[in-house]
């Protein structure tokens, strides 16, 4: 290593040995370092869950909020200061279950935020219940007869809403993951990246080996701007799950879409003065 990665952090990690989160953490630190970001320029937001502890293990700004609510504070942060690189690290339960409404509407809103979902297809922190991405038939302590609900398909959902960047990767392929992470961070707009990771304690079906055997990389000639093709890719599961950038749609980000903010200093850099508001009283005379 040529230099110490500035995103390294000494905090002791409260994750199980062998947990996929470790590799994911190393990946994001590497991606940010390769992008030559400084820790103070980055904010890592999260909700609650094992994945959501990540802001504590990286040397960057962090906002570890409420369960399911990783996205709304991230949006507020980005509006306040667009110069910040705003990243979300949260799990499948937090992002797709408790926070599903925010996911839907922020895909529509398209803020320049990168959302990494640590998808291990199970609930870890609460000890092994089904998550929205757990497959049907998977038996857990709660779903004693096997999961009955249709699995949530984040890729198909995001494509259907014309999400500006939709990707999937596997933490077991670090090179692929870091490459996707960098591309997602550099993308202007909402980037949803579903990252497969094993839960070594509670998911005995979707193991490291299972992901390795059941994922394949998209061909180089795959065209992520073709919505229909992307949707078809999103439906693949049983015969191999594609990883890579599945869908891309160029469009203005949330703040770029607010025309009157163009060429204005960011909100956080404004000087506040009560007199600026005086003219808004005129209408009441």
């Amino acid at each position: 290593m040529d230099r110490q990665n500035p995103f390294h952090c000494q905090e002791e990690k409260a994750w199980c040995p062998g947990c996929g989160n470790h590799g994911l953490l190393e990946g994001i630190k590497e991606a940010l370092d390769q992008l030559e970001k400084d820790p103070h320029e980055v904010v890592v937001c999260s909700g609650i869950g094992q994945a959501a502890k990540l802001p504590h293990y990286i040397n960057a700004n962090g906002f570890n909020g409420l369960h399911g609510r990783s996205i709304p504070p991230a949006l507020g942060i980005k509006v306040a200061n667009p110069d910040l690189t705003v990243i979300i690290h949260s799990g499948d339960g937090d992002s797709y279950g408790e926070g599903g409404n925010h996911l839907i509407h922020n895909i529509r809103r398209n803020p320049d935020i990168t959302h990494f979902v640590h998808d291990n297809q199970i609930y870890g922190l609460t000890k092994g219940q089904a998550s929205p991405t757990t497959r049907q038939g998977h038996v857990t302590g709660i779903q004693t007869e096997g999961v009955q609900l249709e699995p949530f398909n984040p890729i198909a959902l995001a494509i259907s809403l014309d999400c500006s960047f939709v990707a999937r990767t596997f933490m077991g392929d670090k090179e692929h993951m870091v490459k996707i992470m960098k591309e997602a961070i550099q993308h202007k707009g909402y980037a949803l990246v579903d990252i497969f990771q094993p839960c070594v304690v509670f998911n005995k079906i979707n193991t490291f080996k299972w992901y390795k055997e059941n994922t394949y990389k998209l061909d180089d000639d795959y065209d992520p701007t073709d919505k229909i093709a992307a949707f078809q890719k999103s439906q693949e599961y049983d015969d191999g799950i594609p990883i890579g950038v599945i869908y891309k749609k160029e469009k203005p980000s949330f703040l770029e879409g607010i025309e009157y903010l163009k060429d204005q200093p960011s909100l956080v850099k404004r000087d506040l003065n009560p007199d600026n508001a005086k003219s808004f009283m005129e209408g009441f005379f």
């Binding site: 906002f63 909020g65 507020g76 409404n101 509407h105 909100l267 009283m281």
Partner: protein
């Protein structure tokens, strides 16, 4: 002299338009105005009304006795005619003659619809009505025309000018109503608009909310000015998102705010705790309406206080304050931002539908009285990585730097119990210190809260105690009762929590009887006062039918219990 006029009809008929125009004309003719709205949760039909009280002296509330009734339909006559004084008058279009039939008071039929047809647009009958009323009250037609110019443009303005003249020229006598003295121009504004303008003066840069009556007009006002002010008003997907967005924006260093009504506030409660434990400054407005659940969407109540005192699980410091009139709405909101940032704390501003929809003439806001005190740390003097968001300090307030603004320093906030760095902790010792650090803000806020306003006899035999929107009615009721020789005074609370106690303790010493006056069933202020002081009230005047208590009712009910 003091007049009370009611405009009634069904939703969509134009009572709002006539009310708005007439209020503006009266305002510009130097009358003092207090108007309030009673409307149903529907866009068309039903029975809605606006009451406009106008006077040559200041007025602070609505009252029940009417002098004039402007009826857009026969239901308005049936519903309200018995509130007219003996010589009160009903104005109605001549088309309604048959449907109104025998009325209990004098009816003056006016050819307003006919007049509108004559100028070529049946829709402008409200402006014809306005012209007729200007004539009847001997107001200045030039002012009327100017007011139209404020609301209409081009051809529409032209036809409205014809319409106002058409009404003005209807042949009839005018009444001799008292003329106000020329005075410094007032503004006509409601408390929600006052809150919004106060927030803008304080530098609010981001307002995230989900539309909910009766709080929406705060968002409407900010949104209508967002382009010019270059701020961001965002309609969130739900109230949970709204408050979490505002918290994120505040963490990142800008002044942000959210507003809602009871049901939306219920959804926000978990995030109140988030603001508390992350020590993120936050201003939240809750414009009350009758609950529970959907309740009475368009009506009024003061029934969220008990809930808001402890809303959120766990324990957090908070300040709760309530708006008493449109004037203080502005200053109070601006101050709320300063207090929120000074103590890195949650400030909840309460309002209610009554004041949200009540227009009042008040002195223009003095922007020089608004100070912006951010209490941010510029981040100088720290070694690389040394900054700790939750550093223990002598005064209990940790330095707050803005993430991204200081190279070498990062800011970590956490909803888990955390150490000085913001990292998750399980330590009993750190937990105790952190809880004490956060909760010690309550004693700091105790020094900031303002005593309630007092009106009436110096040494009152009867002490009335209310909060928020009943201020105006208590003030006028006490004046009337004092005039009749009754020894009575009233305390009107603005800051509610931490509870200021000095004025209450002082005035209750004289009182043989203490009476809480509230728009709820359980006497929520009385409960709070009992909780904080151990003192119970002797009597209660409570109202929870969704309608604001009026002057006559307060006076009558006080006389009943003393």
């Amino acid at each position: 002299m003091d007049y009370n006029l009611l405009i009634g009809g069904s939703a969509g008929q134009g009572i709002d338009t006539l009310g708005t125009l007439l209020e503006k004309v009266l305002q510009r003719c130097s009358y003092s105005i207090f108007s309030n709205k009673d409307y149903m949760s529907r866009i068309r039909g039903g029975h809605n009304f606006i009451q406009i009280r106008f006077s040559t002296k200041p007025v602070y509330c609505h009252k029940s006795t009417l002098d004039f009734l402007v009826a857009f339909d026969e239901i308005t006559v049936k519903e309200h005619q018995d509130r007219l004084t003996e010589d009160g008058i009903i104005f109605a279009d001549e088309d309604l003659r048959e449907r109104i039939g025998e009325a209990h008071r004098k009816v003056i039929y006016l050819p307003v619809k006919k007049g509108a047809k004559e100028v070529g647009n049946p829709k402008v009958f409200t402006t014809v009505f306005l012209g007729a009323l200007i004539r009847i009250y001997d107001l200045d037609l030039k002012i009327g025309k100017k007011v139209l110019g404020k609301y209409f443009k081009d051809e529409i303005l032209e036809v409205n000018h014809k319409a106002i003249l058409q009404g003005y020229e209807i042949n009839m006598d005018h009444f001799s109503i008292a003329k106000p003295e020329e005075q410094e121009q007032k503004i006509l504004i409601n408390a929600n608009q006052g809150i919004a303008l106060g927030a803008m003066a304080a530098g609010v840069s981001f307002y995230s909310a989900y539309p909910m009556t009766p709080s929406t007009s705060i968002m409407n006002f900010l949104a209508s000015n967002q382009r010019e002010a270059k701020i961001v008003v965002e309609q969130a997907e739900d109230e949970i998102a709204a408050i979490n967005m505002a918290i994120g924006a505040s963490y990142a260093g800008i002044r942000s705010m959210t507003g809602t009504s009871g049901g939306g506030f219920s959804l926000m409660t978990e995030a109140l705790g988030l603001a508390g434990i992350t020590e993120t400054p936050l201003v939240v407005a809750n414009v009350q309406r009758p609950g529970p659940a959907t309740g009475f969407p368009t009506r009024t109540e003061q029934s969220d206080l008990s809930f808001i005192l402890t809303a959120s699980h766990g324990e957090i410091p908070r300040m709760i304050t309530v708006i008493r009139n449109a004037e203080e709405a502005f200053y109070k909101t601006a101050k709320a931002f300063n207090l929120a940032e000074k103590y890195q704390v949650l400030v909840i501003i309460l309002n209610d539908q009554y004041l949200a929809d009540a227009n009042q003439t008040i002195n223009p806001y003095n922007f020089d009285k608004v100070a912006i005190e951010r209490n941010l740390d510029n981040g100088e003097g720290y070694d690389v990585g040394e900054y700790k968001r939750y550093q223990f300090t002598e005064d209990g307030i940790s330095p707050r730097i803005v993430p991204g603004m200081v190279k070498g320093q990062t800011v970590l906030s956490d909803s888990d119990e955390h150490d000085e760095n913001g990292n998750i902790t399980e330590s009993a010792e750190v937990r105790v210190k952190m809880v004490e650090k956060r909760m010690s803000k309550l004693s700091m806020l105790e020094k900031e809260v303002e005593e309630p306003w007092y009106m009436g006899s110096e040494e009152p035999e009867t002490l009335l105690v209310g909060w928020g929107s009943t201020y105006g009615v208590l003030k006028e009721a006490v004046e009337t009762l004092n005039h009749e020789g009754v020894s009575v005074g009233a305390l009107s609370f603005g800051d509610l929590y931490p509870l200021p106690r000095k004025a209450f303790n002082e005035k209750r010493k004289y009182a043989k009887k203490t009476i809480n006056v509230e728009q709820n069933y359980t006497g929520q202020l009385a409960k709070l006062i009992r909780q904080e002081t151990g003192i119970s009230f002797d009597e209660s005047i409570l109202k929870f039918d969704g309608r604001q208590i009026d002057l006559e009712e307060v006076i009558a009910r006080v006389k009943e219990v003393i």
